[in-house]
């Protein structure tokens, strides 16, 4: 009976083991030098020591100190004590709002445009050179131009998100639409389906998995880029928070922010994973 673990149970156990190993290595590496001998120190004791020593505050935090920070920050995510001291929920909220704003605008442009490109060889050939030229540009390279023309930091970072989300959605939509099986188009032709109904009832569902895969890639890139963009323009957001805490030399807060960026990124990605499953079809 002992060997009858399911695959996910085994994987879960392995994950937990890995987590414990990471904590152990982390703990060993961050032991205060005077306490090297006490390797098997109680985590609570370590927390007391870490919290007490001035050295630990500016140096690399111990797992226990980290846990304490995570707990404190997550119990009050939405406090606001002025520009340089806001709860993590507020900072993440700013970043998410910018990402969703830019992403939504990009979708509004990219999906119809991708439809047009995928439907017509002429449009494809006309637009392709622009896409090829613009796609490899780092989205942050647009920032000065955005700041100059838009003259607003927050709107500029939304613009940068817009630019970086645009390409994967555009290319995937065009690709998905261009590769709709000829049989399905022939069926709708013999049924004299009008163009609008064909677009929404045949082409869109047929291309949806590819379109959604593009949206997922776009969202991933947008979440990467927002951190850099906010570091650049400052003010609010998780990117600004990271930079600010680095200036405060609070590695604990920086680490905490990194963790949160990862968690939110993962949540966004799995959201698109779920959506992708819902539009997927099996031939």
């Amino acid at each position: 009976m002992k060997t009858r673990f399911s695959l996910s149970q085994k994987a879960g156990l392995l994950s937990l083991g890995l987590f414990a190993a990471i904590l152990l290595v982390w703990q060993l590496l961050t032991l205060p030098e005077t306490h090297v001998a006490a390797a098997n120190v109680d985590p609570e004791y370590a927390a007391l020591m870490g919290g007490g020593g001035a050295k630990a505050a500016s140096g690399f935090p111990t797992p226990a100190a980290m846990a304490q920070t995570v707990w404190d920050k997550l119990s009050h995510p939405f406090y606001d004590n002025g520009p340089n001291d806001k709860g993590i929920g507020i900072q993440l909220g700013y970043s998410l709002a910018r990402v969703l704003g830019g992403f939504f605008l990009a979708a509004v442009v990219a999906i119809p445009l991708g439809f047009a490109i995928g439907n017509s060889r002429v449009v494809y050939q006309a637009i392709n050179p622009y896409v090829q030229l613009l796609k490899p540009i780092s989205p942050l390279a647009w920032m000065p131009l955005a700041l100059y023309t838009i003259k607003d930091a927050s709107a500029s970072s939304i613009f940068v998100i817009f630019i970086c989300s645009l390409w994967p959605m555009l290319i995937n939509t065009a690709h998905g639409v261009a590769n709709v099986k000829k049989d399905w188009l022939d069926v709708s032709r013999t049924l004299e389906v009008n163009p609008l109904r064909k677009a929404f009832r045949v082409i869109l569902p047929a291309a949806a998995p590819t379109v959604l895969a593009g949206m997922r890639i776009s969202m991933g890139i947008a979440w990467l880029v927002i951190v850099a963009a906010e570091m650049l323009v400052g003010g609010t957001g998780i990117g600004y928070f990271v930079w600010n805490e680095w200036n405060n030399l609070s590695l604990t807060n920086v680490l905490f922010a990194i963790l949160m960026i990862g968690v939110v990124g993962m949540a966004l990605d799995s959201l698109f994973g779920v959506l992708g499953k819902r539009v997927a079809y099996q031939e």
């Binding site: 099986k181 049989d183 399905w184 022939d186 069926v187 709708s188 032709r189 013999t190 049924l191 004299e192 389906v193 109904r197 009832r201 045949v202 569902p205 047929a206 949806a208 539009v279 079809y281 099996q282 031939e283």
Partner: protein, 313 residues
Amino acid sequence: MTSPSIHPFLQVENLARIYPSPSGGEPVTVFDHVNFRIHKGEFVCVTGHSGCGKSTILNILAGLDSASLGNVFMDGREVSGPSLDRGVIFQSHALMPWLTVLENVAFAVKSRWPARNKQQVREHALRYIELVGLKGAEHKLPSQLSGGMKQRVGIARAFSIEPKMLLMDEPFGALDALTRGVIQDELLKICAETQQTVFMITHDVDEAILLSDRIMLMSNGPHARIAEIVNNTLPRPRDRSAIHKQPHYYPIRNHLVDFLVSRSKLFGSLRDAPDAPSSPTVFDPADLVESDVEPVVVHTPPVGKPHIHLVNA
């Protein structure tokens, strides 16, 4: 049996498909001088070797493709594009995999009668799903169906729009013999009930004999054409287990097999005069009383035979 009328239901005149040669030389004529008529309620099968242009002809009839030369008229009007008047059953079933069986059929029904409400569309679709024996599977996705069931959904979809004519491109080619037999029987039954006019491509001689009123035989390309037409005189209703006991069964079958094995190639001699319009030879087992060897080659339509429908271009 149909009787000849002045206005055949479907009339194909001098159809040809010519491709420009890839190397810039002589253009390739896949088929030319294709002439035939189909009358209302008739079931016509076409057979011939791979690549002779059967699918191309069917797609031209469907309006999905256009001919290089020639015209197709249905009900007196020229075919210039796809239409709900002509239902197509695709070889690859062409079901939309994100729609259930019911939704696939309902999509067609709604296309045919946009004014109908949801309930009416649903009832109509269900009636045809039941007709092909898929009652109970209407909420399944195509990926959950067997190949035979998918093909039946394709048949239900094509019949549901009540087209004036049905076009089928090797609809059962991908099915195993047993499933094919069952669906053929169903098709026979539905066609008998609905008096459907059918144009069907098949590679299966027995399928052609079981289903058709006439069998058109295409010679090999290039310059393929309808070389012979066989009148299928076997009485209806036909039963696959007893059909071989009919006196005309073996003459027809041998004639078809013989064509496919040898005569389809010989027909190439006509290529020497590609401009000369050809009339297909007609084989009718009823003529076999005196001659049981090679059928007489006739290049002009004989007079006084009600079952012969020839087109003189």
